[in-house]
Symmetry: C2
Subunit: 314 residues, 2 copies
């Protein structure tokens, strides 16, 4: 509603309170692969009427899978990171599944992050922001967007293209995480390039994050950064360039990142680092062939407990 | 079908033949804004049953608007550039409208470019590629993606994150346009940074385009670049770094770019430059208060004729 504008608490403060309340910095990563869903979720796809399309069955199973994973693990997490590509590839039904999963995650009290890494020029950035956080005006009334709490944004097009996301986010107390140094080996191709005058491309991006963010009473800013947990060497130097930004840390587990190496993220407080784990939780039962829900819950609690202790020691 | 793999003609050759056949380098930009649709399109929204939701009416009107614009202008264009954000913000119905517009554009014989500027690490890049070009395997059969001919891709995460798009595109003779120097003023924040060892970030990206592209018998590569028509000074130097890449040139018209300045794009042939025009065609009637279809057709033909003559002079 338009009278919400300006009334929302800043994202950094909301995040900080939620991390302390749930004693967790874990973001459950959901990037459901139709071929490897939990067995009980397949029943949702099998149960549709004869003649249902593959994408209808797959979307129903994806939604059920996410529900089951959330039910098993939400209590150990502070939020959920939804990989938009995983839903988009299932078309209309995939979008309906995404809407369902956003609502399910909110019902568990989780902060919902849409990981879409969008980035475009001003007018199109505003459209993406409306699509994710806000609403679109039409001659027949406003159309609500996805309604998430936070998004990832790609800053290659510059600060002016990041600002529409931040402006829209602030209306509802939402947050924006700007890619600064991603977790993949090939990130070095562009992000690690050294610049005339000093620093790297990633340093420029971290400086941008620091400049556009606003820091509330919690000491955590409303604009964050994505820094791969796979490059702890970069983490300390990037943290120095953006002392209050919450840092989203993908790459723990399957990609080789270790929670033990992430101490610098927590310098401004327990909400200074958010650790996303996808396969390490959702697929925890695969290796041991145990029931997936129990193994996922145990893995989520293990990650939660480890991260919490690292943050407390920082 | 999997037996299509490897049989498709390379994108550069398809593009080149289509440009010559249609004597056009114009890509119609569709980024429909529900508040400013053509008047006749509003009837499609108004005509839905009582109780229809705003997003249902808006999506119906957006689909009708795109149909009308295509009917008026397709004969002067070689392709269409669809801004994905404009459809995503209308949710499930927006995705259905997008599917409809892709089919409508194909029926007019146009090359369909999805302008989503996606970019993510390998496994998620593959999901986006499946979503746009390919198909997703599920236990109930394959789910087809959007089925476009080409996409825009953001290379901030490195060449390894661009390759999944290229690999998927090649299976169906599709193309990928990598952001090299975008049309917005703020692009300078990151893309114009000068690097130790020489060149700029944009130069690195153009080098990447040149390296990963394959050039067929037409002399036009299957991997292209996005270079803003607003920065003709960059165009000549970037063209030298990627001599056979097709260059997508946004920013003509409302953003200030001029077709007359785009000669270097056409060095490898008439398909070396593709000029995207959105408001300059779709909104051509607004200023003069004429019927939108007639004004749009006249504007499209004017852009087509001018670009064709510049390319022939190059």
């Amino acid at each position: 509603m338009s009278d919400d504008i300006g009334a929302a608490a800043p994202f950094g403060d909301v995040l900080s309170a939620s991390v302390k309340d749930r004693r967790s910095q874990i973001l459950l990563g959901l990037d459901p692969e139709p071929a490897t869903l939990w067995p009980d979720a397949l029943e949702a796809g099998n149960g549709l009427p004869d003649g249902s399309l593959p994408r209808e069955r797959a979307a129903a199973a994806v939604a059920a899978h996410c529900s089951l994973v959330l039910a098993a693990t939400a209590e150990f997490c502070v939020g959920v990171k939804l990989q938009l590509a995983s839903f988009e590839r299932l078309g209309v039904e995939g979008r309906a599944a995404l809407d369902f999963v956003v609502a399910a995650a909110k019902a568990h009290g989780l902060i919902v992050l849409a990981d879409g890494k969008r980035g475009d020029i001003g007018i199109s950035a505003s459209s993406y922001a409306a699509s994710l956080f806000g609403r679109t005006q039409t001659p027949w009334g406003d159309v609500d967007g996805l309604g998430v709490d936070a998004v990832t944004v790609n800053p290659l097009l510059g600060a002016e293209t990041v600002m529409p996301f931040i402006e829209e986010a602030r209306k509802s107390g939402g947050g924006v995480f700007v890619l600064a140094r991603t977790s993949n080996p090939g990130a070095a191709d562009v992000q690690d390039r050294e610049l005339v005058g000093g620093g790297t491309v990633s340093d420029v991006l971290a400086g941008m994050v620091n400049e556009v963010g606003e820091t509330g009473s919690s000491g955590i800013a409303d604009v964050g950064a994505v820094v791969g947990a796979t490059v702890p060497g970069h983490l300390a130097s990037l943290r120095a360039l953006m002392p209050t930004a919450p840092i989203l840390l993908p790459g723990v587990g399957a990609q080789g990142g270790r929670v033990e190496d992430l101490g610098p993220a927590f310098a401004p407080g327990p909400a200074g680092g958010l650790i996303t784990v996808s396969r390490g939780i959702v697929g925890a039962g695969t290796a041991t062939d145990t029931a997936p829900a129990g193994a996922a819950a145990a893995a989520a609690e293990e990650y939660r407990s480890l991260a919490w202790s690292i943050s407390a020691a920082g």
